[in-house]
């Protein structure tokens, strides 16, 4: 699935739910289904700065593509990072760097978070972009 197709899929999935509570339930499920993140990778340098709850993000490059893994101690945050990873994992650095992350605005996620959480979301996006542009 291309980056555009994947983004479109998520926009459609979010539009299935009318209530934000149901969208959160979906995010919670995404958070619960995120692959386990090894304890030894929960290091200071993998922590995303600017998140109220702790979020670790790791990237590995294989065959020219970036693969992300992540964890958080809060489940909704975990759901949000899981959502971002599902879109951007397995893409090339160029693809990620050139993307405008506009689909996040399209699903209305930022507006439905608390201001501190919305800042955390921006930090997650910045970190993913940064990893794509500059490596670790």
């Amino acid at each position: 699935m291309t980056l555009e197709e994947k983004k479109q899929e998520i926009i459609e999935e979010f539009s299935l739910y009318d209530e934000w509570l149901d969208k959160y339930e979906y995010l919670i499920e995404l958070g619960k289904s995120l692959e386990p993140f090894p304890e030894e990778k929960k290091t200071e340098d993998r922590l995303i700065k600017g998140c109220q709850s702790r979020v670790w993000l790791d990237a590995e490059e294989r065959e020219g593509k970036l693969f992300f893994s992540a964890d958080s101690d809060a489940i909704i945050t975990k759901g949000i990072i899981s959502l971002l990873i599902s879109v951007y994992s397995g893409r090339t650095r160029e693809e990620i760097a050139a993307d405008d992350f506009g689909f996040v605005a399209e699903i209305g996620l930022k507006e439905n978070l608390s201001p501190t959480r919305a800042n955390g979301l921006v930090s997650m996006i910045d970190t993913i972009k940064n990893l794509a542009e500059n490596g670790r």
Binding site: W20, L21, Y24, Q52, S53, A74, I76, N112
Partner: protein, 163 residues
């Protein structure tokens, strides 16, 4: 003394060659003053005083206190902090086992319940309690027992969603 903060009405002239500030006290009063607090302070104090002396409000506050206290302490998933005394006001700081306080606050918000969440501006106390943060539900004189019941139902529903 240089001003610590910039903002509206604290400036006299701004040029690339130099900036001059407005005369005192404006120089140190950047931005819009809290003018709406001036006329509302007295009515707010009147309201607080009348609420404190109103037997109906007192009875409702006591009912909320007893009800929420009972509900929070009988639920084994919830850890309530602080002591319960006759003089306690209906304000409850608590944590839910296995659930992050930020998650709960967000879900409760979507259910129409506003709670405080985080370190409560008391990081050393959080360290002492061994928690990363707490939730706090504070009931005001205008809150009703029905709203307290709605809070408890919402809290239980939110915990079930998150656990």
């Amino acid at each position: 003394m240089p001003p610590y903060m910039g903002g509206g009405e604290m400036i006299e002239t701004v040029r690339f060659s130099g900036t001059t500030y407005a005369p005192l006290p404006m120089k140190f009063e950047a931005g819009t003053q809290n003018f709406n607090a001036v006329p509302t302070l007295v009515p707010a104090l009147d309201f607080a005083e009348s609420a404190r002396e109103n037997p109906e409000v007192q009875a409702e506050q006591k009912a909320i206190l007893d009800y929420v206290y009972a509900q929070l302490t009988q639920d084994s998933r919830i850890v309530l902090y602080g002591t319960y005394r006759e003089a306690k006001i209906p304000l409850f700081s608590f944590a839910v086992k296995g659930v992050h306080h930020e998650d709960l606050a967000l879900i409760l918000d979507k259910m129409g319940v506003a709670v405080r969440s985080g370190q409560m501006c008391a990081e050393p106390l959080m360290d002492h309690l061994g928690v990363t943060g707490l939730l706090r539900a504070s009931f005001a004189p205008y809150n009703t027992l029905d709203e307290a019941k709605y809070f408890i139902t919402s809290l239980q529903r939110a915990i079930e969603m998150l656990q």
